[in-house]
């Protein structure tokens, strides 16, 4: 029995290790080859920072980072604000209105990206709108809001209806009830909605590809237009993104963990 259990534990550890390798080998590969001193993606010929230098010297590449972040930040802020307001509004709307809006709201989530992208492109063309940063941002806001709403709605449903009424009862105006009572309670859901929106925008390729205009590329589009030729600068760019995101995620996840432990230690 003991032996069997040990075997099982080893088996499960082995399997999980394999899965993790599957996830991380490519990432490691990108990072390693970003330090290669030749253009080869198959053999590591020596350490160098040349691809990083080239990346920083490449204005289009740097601009793509800039636009990615700019669009993601604007889209996140706008979609979070609009999404929050809408979600609260919907939770107090008539059932029919709520159902219809939710169904339409689900469209960009359920529809393949490419369909959403094309529909937006056709729309911008038909109203004679020059594609560019503005259309890109509008498109991003459009596909981010649904995720914010989807993340806030369940939390709103859990909310005790009486709590908002209690605020009114105690003399708060509807606006005060909103800002002082409802929003503080769904703060976490709003934040996670914002995070989802940010990552969706940051990650998007298809919709951006069809709705952007001259000179406005995000990282995805840049990688896509560049992938045909071996270009280790892309590796450098990827490594940089991986580094930033890994750092942020580790901080976000580990700091509260450490804090909790410290708290526990103090309490104990």
């Amino acid at each position: 029995m003991d032996k069997k259990r040990k075997g099982l534990r080893f088996g499960s550890g082995f399997y999980l290790t394999l899965i993790m390798l599957f996830f991380y080998v490519p990432i490691l590969y990108v990072v390693v080859f970003s330090f290669n001193n030749s253009k080869s993606l198959t053999s590591f010929t020596g350490f160098s920072l040349m691809w990083y230098e080239k990346m920083f010297a490449n204005r289009t590449m740097m601009e793509s980072i800039y636009y990615t972040v700019l669009v993601a930040v604007i889209a996140t802020v706008v979609s979070t604000v609009v999404g929050t307001i809408t979600a609260i509004g919907l939770s107090k709307s008539r059932r029919l209105v709520r159902e219809v809006v939710t169904q339409i709201n689900n469209l960009p989530v359920m529809n393949p990206d490419i369909v959403t992208a094309i529909s937006l492109m056709l729309f911008f063309i038909s109203i004679n709108m020059k594609t560019g940063l503005l259309t890109l941002i509008l498109a991003h806001i459009t596909f981010c809001i649904p995720y914010v709403i989807l993340s806030i709605m369940p939390k709103l449903r859990q909310l005790d209806d009486n709590v908002a009424e209690a605020a009114l009862d105690l003399g708060a105006t509807p606006w005060q009830a909103l800002t002082k009572v409802i929003i503080p309670q769904i703060k976490d859901a709003i934040l996670s909605g914002a995070l989802i929106a940010f990552s969706m925008s940051f990650d998007d390729f298809v919709i951006s590809f069809f709705t952007t205009g001259p000179g406005i590329n995000n990282i995805s589009i840049y990688v896509y237009t560049m992938y045909k030729r071996i270009n280790p600068s892309i590796n450098a760019l990827s490594s940089l993104i991986i580094l930033v995101i890994a750092t942020v995620l580790v901080i976000v996840n580990v700091v509260p963990m450490l804090k909790n432990r410290k708290k526990r230690e103090i309490e104990a």
Binding site: V101, P112, V115, I118, F123
Partner: protein, 259 residues
């Protein structure tokens, strides 16, 4: 309180302009052959007929569905044990592992796919296999997370109860754990199948150009050929297939939860 309902009005206007009208635009294009002259509306089903009557296009559709289904199945087969094993770990380890699995999801999908391109240069692999690797790599985390969430929510007392009633570990798994994690599998399926059907840069980046899926076809007709009417028709066909399959999955899910 009812006045809060008004807060949804701006977004209603927004979705009308940016979701409803654009979808109507696609339909307008799909049901006409007038090129870019949308002002003259000649209703026609020619674009759909052209797609549905041509074996080569149907092959592309079939191929896309096949690849998406196989990808989804692989994700379940690989992802379920992983999710199950993670759920068995102690809480701290679970947190770390889930973090490790979510972390790659934050990295740009194109960058992740690009990473595999370099690795797979080392091996002589078929385009189809490369595409599978790329798809599974990109979508597996969604499946694992969904299944893990449903397993983690599972009341441990149910397992104990099953064992108390004489079920061995395998029976417990088959009769209790597995059925209760079906909702997780179903939402995992929606998260994997949907992007897998419509993906177009994974085949393009990894397939070496000789592998065309329906997403690529749409892209070709919009970008290269410039036949937006036909491209719109293909988009509508794909959207219809996906929305119907989503609807069925949801129904299945609901039915399952009622049972």
């Amino acid at each position: 309180m009812k006045s809060f309902g008004r807060m949804a009005y701006p977004y209603m206007a927004w979705i009308t302009v940016f979701i409803v009208i654009p979808m109507i635009m696609i339909m307008l294009y799909a049901f006409t052959v007038q090129g870019n002259e949308t002002l003259i509306f000649h209703f026609t089903l020619a674009n759909f007929a052209r797609f549905l009557q041509d074996q080569t296009f149907l092959n592309v559709l079939w191929n896309s569905l096949r690849i998406a289904v196989i990808t989804t199945l692989c994700c379940i087969i690989i992802g379920y044990p992983a999710a199950f094993l993670i759920a068995q770990q102690d809480e701290r380890k679970q947190g770390i592992m889930i973090l490790l699995i979510t972390l790659p999801m934050w990295i740009n999908m194109l960058v992740r796919t690009y990473a595999w391109r370099g690795i797979m240069l080392h091996f002589d692999l078929s385009s189809e296999f490369k595409i599978f690797v790329g798809m599974i790599y990109n979508f597996l985390p969604y499946m694992i997370i969904q299944i893990y969430t449903s397993l983690a929510k599972l009341d441990k007392n149910l397992i104990t109860a099953a064992q108390d009633l004489g079920a061995n570990p395998l029976q417990t798994f088959l009769k209790v754990t597995l059925p209760l994690s079906v909702p997780g599998i179903i939402s995992g399926i929606t998260l994997v199948f949907l992007p897998a059907v419509s993906s177009f840069f994974i085949p393009k980046l990894l397939g070496g150009g000789d592998y065309v899926l329906i997403g690529n076809l749409i892209e070709t007709y919009f970008v290269t050929t410039g036949d937006w009417n036909f491209g719109s028709a293909i988009s509508l066909i794909m959207a219809a297939i996906i929305l119907i399959s989503m609807y069925l999955t949801r129904k299945l899910d609901r039915q399952y939860q009622e049972d």
